[in-house]
């Protein structure tokens, strides 16, 4: 996960919450919706816990890497009283409506696993962005695989 944050197209996610809030206000950058108020919590979730989980093509299944990220998110949620919105995303190689449904399926897959780890479902919301908010823009699987993701955002 940490390796990913060094790539240039995640620069925004690395930035301070001032940046995040600014982007959220203009409604422009994925992974930053939800308008957080707590700068250090955002930093902690994004940098140390890991706010995103990746999926294989047309799948909402959780890999072992995905499960360990979600476990860290669950452990982190047990140390505070935050609520999360889990955004589900799809890559561009699908049709619009299906990808919206697939994004929802992915977000719920993360939510369900977190509930199974003891997190109260009322602290978790889901939203799907389908293929509308890619973070990596090349037309190769190297980019598409980064777009097939869920992003947990503090409400």
């Amino acid at each position: 996960m940490r390796k990913l944050f060094r790539s240039s197209n995640i620069v925004v996610a690395l930035g301070a919450s001032v940046l995040l809030t600014a982007c959220a206000a203009s409604g422009t950058v994925s992974g930053s919706y939800g308008g957080s108020s707590d700068e250090s919590a955002v930093k902690e979730l994004v940098r140390n816990v890991g706010d995103r989980v990746f999926f294989s093509t047309d799948s909402a299944g959780l890999s072992s890497e995905a499960r360990s990220t979600i476990m860290r998110q669950a452990d982190w949620l047990k140390t505070n009283s935050k609520s999360l919105t889990i955004e589900g995303h799809a890559d561009e190689r699908g049709t619009r409506e299906y990808n919206i449904a697939l994004g929802a399926r992915r977000a719920n897959s993360v939510k369900d696993y977190m509930i199974s780890l003891g997190i109260d479902g009322s602290r978790l919301e889901t939203v799907s962005w389908g293929k509308e908010r890619p973070v990596s823009l090349c037309a190769e699987d190297a980019c598409w695989s980064k777009n097939r993701r869920s992003v947990s955002v503090i409400q």
Binding site: G34, T95, E97, A104
Partner: protein, 441 residues
């Protein structure tokens, strides 16, 4: 919300009597449009003349709209007026047919524009069969000068109908998603334009992401997916007033909406706990009804034109495939069995075909099949083609195509149902998710 001014002006239609007595001995011109016309019919359209048979700017403009409509259909090829032998054409005079046969004309359109005392204009035109030497049609239209484009479309529709025996579609509009900004921060607004790409105007502000707009049967309203308040929900937008509302009070995400053919219901997907099922909402009673109940993704529902059946896509068998069910959700039948995945089914307004997006070997195709799943034909193929929508007469499909690359964006295209005559449809910027209006007659 951007307010839209719709045209309220009235067009008066009068049938002109044939100037010359007609002999019925010969068969008149007729285009068979079921064959994917490889040879378009040569038609001469003279710039409609003004008062005292003088050249008229508005008359030329109207004739150009007619020409462009007929040419775009792929069924006609207009002849350059510079090659005309007979020059002094009068709407009420019989043309010299020999002069037109020499330049291989088969149909001839002669028109005239006259200014009326009340400020309106009167347009008269006649359609001649050059080979049979007969008038096929004579019409007079009265409207305000600002409606010149509309008049042109009505003239083109009349000619198309007379020569093909099919309903025209030139007097119709297309709603689509106008896209601006880089791929990871795309702003998506609803926009509406004439079917030939003229008069485009945005109808939502771009503040929230807008997707998959679909016309109501009266073309007065649009149902679409809006991310207002970052919650994807189906909305209803009145084009004239700009008013909008959320459709229904559902406990989860609603998406993929369409009107029922009677305009009384919206059919859409509702997502709960990661499963998407198909629901209807009655717009009068506000009663919702669940039509599918699976742990799969059931989406992109579309009614048959008679309202008795519904086609939709589902991955209940593992991958996206097309299914048809009765309007009450009973008797679900899978209809797609080919290789690959099938999505975004749309029932033709004629009822005879279902168009779809197909994904095969990493390519995105547009195709059609009969409602029982037989007779599959691919109309276009490439890196990414998606989201077909039918012209109101069921003869042309519009869809969006995206090229590979970071800076690439989608654009609209049209293709004849025969697979011929594929053309780009010009929009001011990137465009996707087109839907064609019904005829507004």
């Amino acid at each position: 919300m951007i307010k839209i001014i719709t045209r309220k002006m009235f067009v008066v239609l009068v049938v002109l009597m044939a100037q010359i007595s007609i002999s019925f001995a010969q068969d008149l011109l007729r285009i068979d449009i079921t064959q994917g016309n490889v040879d378009p019919l040569p038609v001469a359209i003279n710039p409609f003349q003004g008062q005292d048979d003088q050249p008229s700017m508005i008359g030329t403009d109207i004739a150009n709209v007619v020409k462009s409509d007929l040419n775009r259909s792929g069924l006609f090829q207009s002849i350059n007026p510079e090659g005309f032998i007979e020059k002094d054409l009068r709407v009420n005079a019989r043309p010299r047919f020999g002069d037109w046969r020499i330049i291989n004309t088969q149909a001839l359109v002669i028109g005239k524009v006259a200014n009326m005392e009340d400020g309106r204009i009167s347009i008269e035109f006649r359609l001649w069969d050059v080979v049979a030497e007969q008038q096929m049609m004579g019409l007079q239209l009265i409207s305000t000068p600002s409606n010149w484009r509309w008049i042109g479309h009505l003239v083109a529709d009349a000619i198309y109908e007379r020569l093909t025996g099919e309903t025209g579609y030139f007097d119709s509009r297309i709603v689509y998603v106008d896209e601006t900004g880089p791929k990871n921060r795309r702003v998506k607004r609803l926009a509406i334009m004439d079917q030939d790409g003229h008069n485009p105007r945005q109808i939502t502000t771009g503040q929230s992401l807008a997707l998959t707009p679909r016309f109501s049967p009266t073309a007065q309203e649009i149902t679409y997916l809006s991310y207002a308040n970052r919650q994807p929900r189906v909305f209803l937008l009145n084009i004239e007033t700009g008013q909008q509302e959320i459709v229904g009070d559902f406990p989860g995400m609603t998406f993929a909406p369409r009107f029922s053919p009677d305009g009384q219901k919206i059919i859409m997907s509702l997502e709960r706990s990661g499963n998407s099922n198909i629901y209807t909402l009655d717009l009068r009673t506000r009663v919702s009804r669940r039509l599918t109940n699976t742990l799969a993704i059931d989406t992109a529902p579309c009614y048959a034109p008679d309202g008795e059946r519904i086609v939709f896509e589902s991955d209940r068998a593992g991958r996206q495939q097309l299914y048809v069910m009765e309007a009450d959700g009973k008797n679900v039948q899978r209809i797609s069995y080919g290789e690959g995945r099938y999505a975004t089914p749309v029932w033709s307004p004629r009822g005879d075909l279902i168009a779809f997006t197909k994904q095969l070997n990493g390519r995105f195709l547009i195709g059609v099949m009969k409602p029982d799943g037989s007779g599959e034909r691919i109309l276009t193929e490439g890196y990414h083609n998606e989201g077909p929508a039918w012209s109101p007469n069921g003869r042309v499909l519009t869809f969006f195509r995206e090229q590979k690359g970071e800076k690439a964006g989608p654009g609209l295209w049209t293709v004849d149902v025969t697979g011929y005559n594929e053309r780009p449809l010009k929009t001011p910027g990137f465009a996707s998710d087109p839907a064609w209006s019904p005829l507004i007659r």
